[in-house]
């Protein structure tokens, strides 16, 4: 075929295809960006409430009715940072908390480092706990002084979710806080995230803390000393992404009582509720999302009044992936987890019993989180092709561009101004300028990359599902503890 022929066929095919998809893609972008904008507005309200409250409440002292908290740290081969990390956790300001480190069958010197640093001695076998564990729990150690509230549980390797479940079993306090070994917490983190449990003890069952990127900042002895924008653009884009979709998104959702995702990097739950729900699902890839939905379903099924809340104040800082390879794996896994969980909980969609979760939250996740990459890809592939074959009007392409990425930049800017207004954590002017530039890069460049990775994850899952259909155990732990 000669070029003119190819051109003609291409033109016809794309004209038809574009005629069908164009309105869908157009509407989709308009809706998703508008929904973000609505979330920004909702979040602004949430922040305002939060800030006023912070101003007028006496200094947070965790107060009269503070419940005990078990901080659960699953760790695998974290020899280099575990001691610093545990010291920082033990030093968190809270009237009653213990640290439970679960050694997930580490092969490095992590356990030895802990034993030496805290002078650990073994306890005789303890009660096994309520969540069934497939792996073997091999021992429990405590500091010899009997006062330092540290518990180290060792087990054979079986992945992060089981490690957390082991920690929940071993926990001695009524509230559990699940964190990653490399998370950096604000000294006040526990006081802040348990505040909802104190303020409304009869109803609050779970709380999510804001997780933000720490790359490029100064960290001393497990504490954030000076916050700065990261030096790499990849990390900078993630700073803006965390801001827009996590901080703003979750504050917005929580303000209408539909918080569907409590991040695994820092989530706080009532222990009895998690146990009643059966703990984390070791077979799930999106285990934090899955647990959150399971708790929602359980509480709604039981017809109990409950609340899941989100604490917008930054409390937990984490190193975000700084290389394409790691980021790609992370995003691919997140999307796979999202798909598998949404699919498993499809029964909650549009059921009266599940209220806003079933009518608003979940449909939103289906439409704007799960299918987002598909529709973006249509836009990204078809429009340039259409232009090439003359099937797409240049003006139309520009319009689409404006509605998709132009609008998105505006929304991210809006999110940023809300953050600047409420928390203004970055105090250098330079960081602000970098943030403005990163906002543009996040929407043009970075976001398109993640689209591919997310599709990869989804595809892997769909394909994997067919291959291992009916097999109970899937190899979901290739990531170790990333």
């Amino acid at each position: 075929m000669t070029w003119p022929e190819v051109h003609d066929v291409g033109n016809q095919v794309l004209t038809v295809f574009f005629g069908v998809t164009a309105p869908v893609v157009f509407t989709y972008f308009l809706l998703i960006n508008t929904s973000y904008l609505v979330l920004v507005v909702l979040a602004a309200g949430g922040f305002r409430r939060h800030m006023r409250e912070k101003e007028t409440r006496r200094d947070l002292t965790a107060g009269e009715m503070a419940p005990g908290v078990s901080v659960i740290v699953p760790a695998y081969n974290e020899e280099t940072l575990i001691v610093t990390s545990v010291r920082a956790l033990l030093a968190l300001r809270y009237p009653q908390h213990e640290v439970v480190v679960v050694d997930d069958g580490s092969t490095d010197g992590m356990l030895a480092a802990l034993v030496e640093a805290f002078d650990l001695v073994p306890l005789p076998a303890r009660a096994t706990g309520e969540i069934p564990i497939r792996a073997q729990v091999t021992g429990t150690l405590v500091p010899r002084n009997g006062h330092t509230r540290l518990l180290v549980v060792t087990k054979t390797n079986s992945g992060r979710s089981e490690a957390i479940n082991t920690g929940i079993n071993a926990a001695r306090e009524p509230i559990i806080a699940i964190i990653d070994a490399d998370s950096i917490l604000e000294p006040d983190a526990l006081v802040r995230v348990t505040q909802p449990f104190i303020d409304d003890p009869n109803r609050v069952v779970g709380a999510g803390g804001t997780v933000r990127a720490v790359n490029g900042s100064t960290v001393t002895a497990g504490r954030l000393v000076r916050l700065q924008m990261p030096r790499s653009w990849l990390a900078r884009a993630q700073v803006m992404e965390y801001l827009r979709s996590f901080l703003i998104g979750r504050t917005g959702w929580a303000s209408i009582g539909t918080l569907l995702l409590i991040s695994g990097a820092f989530g706080v739950y009532r222990r009895d509720v998690v146990i009643a729900a059966g703990g984390l699902d070791p077979d799930s890839i999106g285990e934090d999302f899955e647990l959150c939905l399971r708790v929602h379903r359980m509480m709604r099924d039981a017809g109990r009044e409950y609340r899941m809340v989100f604490v917008p104040e930054p409390v937990c800082w984490t190193e975000v992936p700084s290389t394409i390879a790691v980021l790609r794996r992370q995003r691919s896994r997140w999307h796979r987890g999202l798909w598998e969980t949404l699919w498993a909980y499809r029964g909650m969609l549009f059921r009266r019993r599940y209220g806003r979760v079933g009518w608003l939250g979940l449909p939103y996740y289906w439409a704007f989180e799960l299918f987002a990459p598909v529709l973006e890809v249509v836009g990204l592939v078809v429009v340039p092709l259409g232009l090439l074959f003359g099937a797409v009007n240049v003006k139309y392409a520009l319009l689409l561009l404006a509605v998709s990425y132009g609008y998105a930049v505006v929304v991210t800017f809006a999110a940023m101004s809300v953050e600047e207004w409420a928390f203004h954590r970055y105090d250098r002017w330079r960081d602000l300028v970098v943030a403005v530039a990163a906002t543009v890069f996040e929407n043009v460049g970075y976001r398109q990359m993640t689209v591919w990775w997310r599709l990869e994850g989804w595809w892997a899952s769909l394909r994997g599902r067919k291959q291992v259909w009916g097999v109970m155990t899937r190899a979901g732990f290739e990531e170790g503890t990333t």
Partner: protein, 350 residues
């Protein structure tokens, strides 16, 4: 409109919006920095005088105070802002002096008026100020505000009545816990501030309050040693449909319960109850301190719910020689063994 028209509008529109937002961010930061700086500049000349008053270094006759009281206009607003800020940071005589200054400027009168303003933000601010100044003249206003339309105003009112510390507020505060807004933690702290005078209100709340009011009241009856509450607490343990309230009640009963309340506490450890209640009840048996509890706790040592078993071990340890003997006897059970080892590490003789 044609597509071309759309593009012509959307493109520049979005570009303008982006630019506007970017400017807004810069402006926000600039505004914050400049505003703070300008304000500091304006109050700088007054600062020393205010510090003199706030640290109690003013002359006997209060010369500086009267000088500051005479300030007028915009400077006066700045001055009041500074004083309110300092007020949260000092106490004692120094704080009284600052309140006096605000009163002489009519700030407190204004706050009492603002507490009835149509704007919830104003009402909230006014109540906050009244609380900061611990102005007892604001008691009635604050009590009324406990039933305000706005949840945020109600939340602030709870803190305000706590700071003023007038015991009359106890019952309205507990009653208002049925509404959204007031934080249980704030209410508890406020009621602790109201002290013994709130005892009667606590009893009322146990009998007739909302679930949240019952939870707070039960907790405070336990902590504050309100022994009269025991019969009401037994009632909650046995019948309260709200699990949190029932658990708080059983914990309190462990602290203030009479000998005859042992049965009620022990019954709450029975297996068909939810874990939260059982654990609280098991701990309460140790706190209650009757040797009668030993056989019950020994049975619980083997409980499949680990936190209940461990709580039983801790309670046995707390029960003195009889409890410890039982614990040693059952040292083969995981919960007992772990607790014994732990006790030996902490230096408890067992």
């Amino acid at each position: 409109m044609t597509i071309g028209g759309f593009v012509a509008v959307a493109g520049p529109g979005l570009a303008a919006a982006s630019l506007l937002m970017a400017c807004a961010i810069v402006a926000l930061k600039l505004h914050r920095t400049l505003r703070t700086r300008a304000w500091e500049h304006r109050v700088a000349p007054l600062r020393e005088a205010v510090l003199l008053v706030a640290t109690g270094e003013d002359t006997e006759d209060g010369d500086t105070l009267s000088e500051l009281a005479g300030v007028r206009g915009r400077t006066r607003r700045d001055l009041d802002e500074l004083v309110v800020r300092l007020l949260g940071k000092v106490r004692g005589e120094a704080a009284d002096q600052l309140v006096e200054l605000l009163r002489s400027h009519g700030v407190l009168d204004r706050a009492t008026r603002d507490a009835r303003s149509w704007s919830p933000v104003r009402r909230e601010r006014a109540l906050h100020l009244i609380g900061r100044c611990r102005d007892w003249r604001g008691t009635d206003v604050a009590i009324t505000a406990l039933e305000d339309r706005s949840p945020r105003v109600r939340a602030q009112a709870a803190r305000t009545v706590g700071r003023i510390g007038d015991p009359r507020a106890a019952r309205p505060l507990l009653h208002a816990l049925r509404l959204e807004g007031i934080h249980v933690g704030d209410a508890a702290e406020a009621l602790v501030g109201l002290g013994h005078a709130s005892g009667e209100a606590l009893l009322w709340a146990l009998a007739e309050g909302s679930p949240r009011a019952r939870t707070v009241a039960a907790h405070l009856c336990g902590v504050g040693g309100v022994r009269m509450a025991a019969p009401l607490l037994v009632d909650l343990v046995e019948r309260d449909p709200d699990l949190t309230a029932a658990s708080a009640a059983v914990s309190a009963l462990g602290k203030v319960g009479r000998a005859q309340d042992h049965g009620a506490i022990a019954a709450a450890t029975v297996r068909f109850h939810p874990q939260q209640l059982r654990r609280a009840a098991t701990e309460a048996l140790g706190e209650h301190g009757l040797a009668l509890a030993v056989p019950v706790l020994v049975r619980l040592l083997a409980d499949p719910t680990s936190q209940v078993a461990e709580a039983a071990a801790r309670s046995l340890l707390a029960l003195g020689p009889a409890g410890r003997a039982a614990l040693v006897e059952h040292a083969h059970l995981p919960a007992a063994g772990a607790e014994l080892t732990h006790a030996r590490l902490t230096g408890v003789a067992v």
